[in-house]
Symmetry: C2
Subunit: 422 residues, 2 copies
């Protein structure tokens, strides 16, 4: 099935991407707005999150209630997400309802009311979201890992702080909207049973006359790095590990992804086998690849009983280092089979395709065909992945634990710069 | 697009269901084995969960490692789930790999090794799964809600108890396998780019000569009901509410689902609007319908700050009761639009269709067409839903809270039999 992918960048900098999938009746849309939490003003973390919640509380001629009704009337399944770099607006419904949904999103993105009377409930929600993190140790440890592993603002958490949220007024939110919601750098991707020409004409009519400035450049702070422990009287100890990798688009990108797959893709992967299956050390263990435009990391997670947490940390780190010692041909074949299968699944889902179009465009400035990805994955060999791991060996680990007691870093990892005891 | 749905029940009681989706390249399979945790032997809760983990640790001629490799080599995305009534084996991959996957599943379901040497790590995992629940208050409150709201064994949790898991040996697990893994009552559903005749022939060859006894009947205990509080020093108070509804297949089924949708479907639904949007009482609030063959419930969840938990409980209960006072025509139109959209999404997903085929067959003994569901939903009116709510008014609430302090039950709900103070 040949892919039908279209793209157009309007003079104001908004890029429209579309994939026609003629055997489906649905369509998914995906806006990436370069207004993620890295753009929170210094001293006011959490504004992007509050804005993401406020922005659907009335827009254009509709108040908050009317807007929710209008979207629900279209049968739109939708979600707003706050990422580091982007606010993401996702929706999926019948393809025939897509034009009506786009009309409403043009109001949301360009003409939100951001009404004074909504700030109190929205702030209350944001505070709850932040406080509930204290009851969710799995999420908490990953938030702290990212905070330590990246320089601010890249490592910032979307939830902000209590002080910042409590002092936040609607003017701050409105100012944030005016400075970050710009067509330049914005991506709208659509996949499903759509026709390109009418879609492009509609998007031009809705967004073509929007102008704005460039996205402000980010000023990076100092990476905290090192190791940290969050003391908490929990039944399990949470372990989170991060180490640098190469970003999406780098010549080594597929090799880096391949290495993570050997570690954590499928039930025969190394972490699952060594940590979970053989030793029963933890119910959940995984590694995943996370990228920004200019840097990327592998993040690992394991949750274990307090008694076995020390062994879990040791085995997990050993498996990460053991990757460099060699990868078998079987492991490559399995990752190729797994990836082929997941590509086919993606090809059949309008939401997955809309997401992939936007992601490719943001990182690469173009959309990869499924054939291109397949060919790159088929070209992986044990030698290529091991060579990558020697060029970019896992090191400079950031390690965060959460539980009643800190863990000791195994001796062989103590060459790591130890800023603090784990 | 007309649906092509096939079914065949073999003489041994195994039912095969299939839906041909010719525009996709994937296929999903779904086994429902009537061996859920309700069949755990008295005094040995958690056996079904341990069996579900043990059963993929070697089968037929493959040991644990070889089995994981064989499945991963097919690019199979898979999962094993332990429900109240069923163990569920789900997998999705390229349609061309489905026959090879079925061969392996025949080994898993009929000829698992259940090896002695795997029991220790599996038991360690099961203990971790149980203990980690203590660090997850959201899950914990729902587990306790179900335990109170249903008679044992329907309200049992799959995780078992520490005492039971610590004393569990491989003989108990093997005995559980022999008594519960039977073709009678088992359902295999497949959806994707498959051909019916070869599929049926293969399943007949793999499973046709399997014989076994009926699934043992369940003996129900006494429903604890009432209200409970789990004291825990958390930042948020978790609130869980359940009340009886009509089961899947009942004449009032669509009306009952409609009422839940008015309460909790979409962002303009009543709970979301009243509890979250207007008052900012809690970040997460929802209601959902949960059915067994002979009984069903509506389950509600809300998580709030400790300070605002009392108000959250009151508003949530008030919204549940307010349903009987009337439903607007707009609300019906929105639920029809939402449901139409989600049906279309389901129609495009092999995994969703495989799941729906099996579910329909288990509850109804037949597969509903998408047209039938659409017609039933289109036939809903405010009058019909309100009439249903008067025939089956929300009452006999089971309420469980988790947090530092118990809540008071609002006065108007105190006509409820109060077995314990909330």
């Amino acid at each position: 099935m040949a892919q039908a992918v279209f793209h157009h960048t309007f003079p104001n900098g908004l890029t429209l991407l579309a994939e026609r999938m003629e055997h489906v009746r649905s369509a998914a849309l995906n806006f990436l707005v370069p207004a993620g939490c890295v753009y929170d003003p210094p001293g006011q973390p959490g504004v992007a999150s509050v804005l993401a919640e406020m922005i659907t509380r009335g827009a254009g001629k509709r108040d908050s209630r009317e807007l929710a009704l209008a979207l629900d009337n279209l049968g739109l399944d939708r979600d707003e997400g706050v990422g580091s770099m982007h606010l993401r607006f996702w929706g999926a419904t019948l393809a025939q309802n897509l034009p009506a949904a786009l009309e409403i999103y043009a109001d949301i993105l360009r003409r939100p009311l951001l009404p004074q009377e909504e700030i109190d409930p929205v702030r209350a929600l944001a505070l709850q979201d932040l406080q509930s993190l204290e009851d969710e140790p799995r999420q908490k440890v990953m938030v702290e890992l990212r905070r330590r592993h990246y320089p601010p603002p890249l490592g910032n958490d979307r939830r902000g702080t209590i002080a910042s949220l409590e002092s936040m007024n609607v003017d701050v939110v409105r100012h944030q909207f005016r400075t970050t919601f710009q067509p330049r750098g914005m991506i709208l991707s659509v996949a499903g049973n759509i026709a390109w020409k009418p879609l492009k004409d509609q998007v031009e009519r809705l967004f073509g006359d929007w102008s704005g400035n460039d996205v402000p450049p980010l000023r990076m702070g100092k990476t905290p790095g090192g190791r940290g422990h969050l003391a908490k009287d929990t039944t399990q100890t949470q372990i989170a590990i991060a180490y640098p990798s190469v970003p999406f688009g780098h010549a080594d990108y597929y090799a880096a992804q391949g290495a993570v797959h050997v570690l954590s893709g499928g039930m025969s992967a190394r972490l699952f086998t060594e940590v979970r299956e053989k030793r029963g050390l933890c119910y959940a263990v995984w590694a995943s690849y996370m990228t920004f435009k200019d840097r990327a990391s592998v993040l690992c997670y394991a949750g274990s009983t307090n008694e076995r947490a020390q062994e879990t940390l040791r085995v997990t780190l050993e498996e990460v280092l053991r990757l460099q010692e060699g990868i078998s041909k079987d492991e490559i074949e399995r990752l190729q089979a797994g990836l082929k299968s997941s590509l086919i699944m993606q090809e059949e889902s309008t939401s997955a395709r809309a997401g992939a179009l936007a992601s490719d465009w943001y990182y690469l400035g173009r959309v990869r065909s499924l054939e291109e990805i397949q060919a790159a994955v088929n070209g992986l060999t044990p030698k290529k992945i091991v060579a990558h791991l020697h060029r970019y060996p896992p090191r400079d680990f950031t390690i965060v634990t959460l539980g009643p007691k800190p863990l000791k870093l195994p001796r062989k990892f103590q060459s790591q710069p130890a800023k603090e005891a784990v």
